[in-house]
Symmetry: C2
Subunit: 612 residues, 2 copies
């Protein structure tokens, strides 16, 4: 696309359905601590966000991709227009809807914020990473910092004065974070001298804000090896005084920026800390050797953010493909295929194009529902904390359990669906005249950063399934089971609900298999071999459930609807039925495959993979 043309599209009606009709925004709206936020306020901010996305961020998406970032005199220059967009973003307050008023935020629910983020990322995924990373870093300081740290950093990082990053990865420590070699040496004044190199740092430097606050994992001299010996430091690019004024260079330099397949407008940096022994950091919260657990508190948020990026691009790809399919004429209708004089029809009339579009629609809606559900659990856990500890724990548990599903399933599907959008366009989709090829390139990274999808899968089977003595998983399964019992004989959805039940049985059987393997050293290797498949099965179960749930809600609401509203509710039915008939059966089959206990991949010798 040429610069300056918006290509972002969504359907707010669908977003409103998910928020208000499926997940009962009213149950959290207007209640403490979300007193200020009713449905009208939520709708208004979503409409404003969409307007901002179309007017400001969307037009910078392809131009940012073409221009990319560059390194000049040691500083990253972001693409044309980004600085202005950053300023406007913060003026309008879109990033602080769900931030506590203690930090200058608006005290809204997360279930609203995730949809705002979807719109921002959908319009410009690369741009939205800069404020997104600043947000995550600020949240971490808000959660784990000392009172002085909170006062100095948080609000400035949430209002766009300063940016922020998370610095984990090193040249030989990516998935293996504990191998980090960056060091910290305590100084007499209580600060630490930081030395080391971090790579793949998104937004590691930029020209959007006056400073960048890095959160850096490093090992204090003499600390234990592995993750247990890591501490987390606040390391500003430019040193700051206690009053927030800037105090000169902190010896943080940009070694280089990566040339990537996509998200080219997001600067991915190699950062060198303390090359001249002049880099100073302060310990987050003043506690040594708890860096990993501090980082992990924010990890869920970062992973959910990636899940949001996934659905954001898949949805943008869907609506672009839909528009193209309604507009582009080619070929005659199937019933007149052999008549050369038959009128040409829009390609949406061709069954295979409809199949691709409905597949995209169903996935996008189901994954969005999963994300909003997770956010709802976050909000309810917060609302009920101290009031109903059991219920609050239930909600917190679902957040934990669903996070790896949201991160991995959304990102895997996003890449697949964006590529499918190219297929809807045909050759045109492969050209840069349309945004779908960029979405495809941009989305590939989602399955890798913030923990590869295999790490998500291992988090699910190795950690989240067993959390709270397995209660989180059991409660999830009980929720699905309750839905199945309630609707098994439904006149429209009965068959689909039975597919869901079969999928649930598959997931349960595989969960039991995993449990068995974990107790048998000889079979332990089956766990990593099967983890991705299991995560996918459980995600499909969850998405299938939520699509059917949406369809049954829509059936009731649609009874008295007319016109476009009626069509909208009808659309929920087809999303659910398509998914139940075309995806859910795979879950059962995947369970059968897991039961085969195939270990080919570990039995084959390294040499047998081939000689190169």
């Amino acid at each position: 696309m040429s610069a300056g043309i918006n290509t972002y599209k969504t359907d707010l009606r669908e977003i409103f359905f998910t928020l208000f009709e499926q997940f009962g925004f009213g149950q959290v709206a207007g209640q403490a601590p979300f007193d200020a936020w009713g449905p009208d306020e939520a709708k208004a901010v979503l409409q404003e966000t969409y307007r901002f996305a179309k007017d400001v961020l969307g037009p910078l998406n392809s131009s940012g991709d073409r221009e990319g970032c560059r390194l000049e005199g040691g500083a990253v220059i972001t693409p044309k227009g980004f600085k202005d967009a950053w300023k406007k973003l913060y003026e309008q307050g879109f990033k602080t809807v769900a931030v506590s008023p203690d930090h200058g935020g608006q005290g809204g629910p997360i279930m609203l914020q995730v949809l705002i983020e979807e719109i921002l990322s959908g319009a410009n995924s690369a741009f939205n990473m800069y404020p997104g990373l600043a947000f995550g870093a600020a949240e971490l300081i808000a959660e784990c910092g000392t009172p002085e740290q909170k006062k100095l950093y948080v609000e400035r990082m949430l209002n766009g004065t300063w940016g922020g990053t998370m610095c984990l990865t090193e040249p030989h420590a990516g998935s293996d974070v504990g191998a980090a070699k960056s060091t910290a040496r305590k100084n007499a004044d209580g600060t630490y001298s930081i030395r080391g190199t971090k790579i793949f740092i998104s937004g590691g430097d930029h020209d959007l804000a006056e400073n960048v606050i890095h959160l850096v994992l490093a090992r204090i001299e003499g600390a234990a090896p592995g993750t247990k010996g890591l501490s987390l430091f606040i390391v500003p690019k430019i040193r700051v005084n206690a009053d927030g004024s800037l105090a000169g260079s902190n010896d943080v330099s940009v070694g280089s920026i990566e040339h990537k397949m996509g998200i080219k407008a997001s600067a991915t940096c190699v950062l060198n800390f303390g090359e001249n022994d002049g880099c100073v950091g302060e310990l987050v919260g003043g506690i040594e050797n708890v860096g990993m657990s501090q980082m992990f508190k924010m990890m869920n948020g970062a992973r959910i953010a990636v899940g949001i990026q996934g659905v954001a691009l898949a949805s943008a790809a869907y609506f672009n493909a839909l528009e193209y399919a309604k507009d582009r004429k080619q070929g005659a209708h199937l019933s007149k295929w052999k008549d050369p004089s038959a009128p040409r029809v829009a390609i949406i009339e061709h069954p295979d194009v409809r199949r691709m579009l409905l597949e995209m629609k169903a996935h996008v809606e189901g994954i969005r529902a999963l994300i909003v559900k997770l956010a709802m659990h976050t909000d309810k856990a917060q609302m009920l904390a101290g009031k109903d500890d059991d219920q609050s724990a239930y909600h917190r548990g679902q957040v934990e359990l669903l996070t790896p599903l949201v991160k991995a399933y959304s990102s895997d599907q996003a890449f697949r669906l964006c590529a499918q959008a190219i297929q809807v366009y045909g050759g045109a989709g492969y050209c840069q005249d349309y945004p779908v090829e960029q979405y495809t390139r941009d989305s590939k990274i989602f399955s890798i950063y913030e923990g590869t999808n295999h790490i998500q899968a291992m988090d699910l089977v190795g950690r989240k399934m067993g959390q709270a003595g397995g209660a989180n998983f059991q409660q999830f399964m009980a929720d699905v089971g309750g839905f199945i019992e309630a609707h098994r004989e439904h006149k429209v959805y009965g068959e689909a609900v039975k597919q869901l039940a079969a999928a649930q049985e598959g997931v349960m059987a595989s969960a039991m298999a995993v449990l068995g393997w974990s107790q048998d050293p000889a079979k332990m290797t089956l766990i990593p071999l099967s983890a991705n498949r299991f995560l996918n099965m459980m995600s499909e179960l969850a998405v299938g459930w939520l699509l059917l749930d949406a369809a049954i809600i829509a059936e009731r609401l649609g009874e008295k609807a007319t016109g476009d509203e009626k069509a909208f509710y009808e659309g929920k039915k087809w999303s659910a039925l398509w998914y139940a008939r075309n995806v859910l059966p795979n879950v059962e089959q995947a369970a059968r495959m897991m039961a085969l206990e195939d270990t080919s991949s570990v039995e084959i010798s390294n040499t047998a993979f081939g000689s190169i």
Copy 2:
């Protein structure tokens, strides 16, 4: 990658296995019409091709991607180094191994040529399109041209003097070729004046050869609408005299070139013919209104070429990922996961990395086998023509039947597997320092051009399945059935062969369902809705079969092998078992899904897809 560094890798041992050990090159080698080609000659040319790929084409792959093509003064300039590579390619004769000596070729079998092409495309997919398209156009003239046309054009297009293209697509006629609006008006001298615009013309212009010979589909004034009224014309960029000397401009101009996701070094042109009424073409073979059937004669070749491009990039991605996985150290072995002082291991030691690699290995080997099998049928059909008509017809029928499988399955899997290679690398794979992100971008077009994969699927279910009264399909199924009967009780592969049998039953049941739908107007729409799924099922059946066939051959040959040879044969076992346990079961399940006769995609209203 920086310019000048080769990243292409393959394993000639595996290529030799497929050619010599699995598909018995000896059965065609040394016999008429392939008298000159024995195993030694075949090995030597493959080794030479690989050397050329590493020395000449591979180093131009990433530099060509970065530089791209440009349009200067109406002419396409290809990336640096391409002209020299073109010259060397033709000097070494790699493109004419399987060309008849009548046209200056070397009279070798196609089963050898397809492997040469795999190596050339794997090293530089964008480059190899230029000679590939010239080859296809030359073949068409050799098959359908008048004696004068053959004499004038064919050899020059096969020895690199002239390039060539196929010009089908127009702005409103892509998949719907019959809607083409280009026109031809007969002149007094028997030539035709051509007018029209063609788009997406690969290699539509370039600076590699002194001329480009376009084959242009156009409608002679007054001819019927649709495909039946199309004729095919030879339209040189520069007019040529009867002796082959050049005679000045033919009014063919390049309107623009596309900016694409990948294959950036292959110029994709908009071509304008006769804007100044000065474009002259000659009718291929001198016969009007048979353009589509002439084009279709070459269509199989073009589609097989795309299948080869797919396996070429998937294989190159596999071997790059394998090398990286053997080299890159990160994390401790699974058995010592929690010990931070445990030695770091190469990532190939991690089960999930091995799973990804074996998945790639199995698919690459199985798809390569399918392509060589198809080529073997081509060769045998030629050998047996006029000697054993029944057998020759059987072989020709298998070529017809397998072509859509090769084109669509290989291209779909290529894109998926190249993206999986990125996942093996992690964040590094997303950067342009490694070739896998380019392979992913390059490969996406394979599912679109030369007939989208849905067109392939419709060709399979609507045309190829019923060809020869269904005999081609029945013979394929009988061949699979014979294998199953012979090996059902095999001590190592018995279980896997039973999976194959279940997959075959699934394919048969679905084929019967398709047949039923084709006779019921109310169910007709299920055919396009299910065609892609059916093509995929049949491809998985074919690939699963050929992998098991390879494994059983390897078991016998491996008995007395030692060292690397033993490991090589062992690798065939794991490819086959992995595929049988992890892919073949999907075929059964897909058959069950087809039996659900889901029509959601056509029942949903256009409005219900969403309001945009």
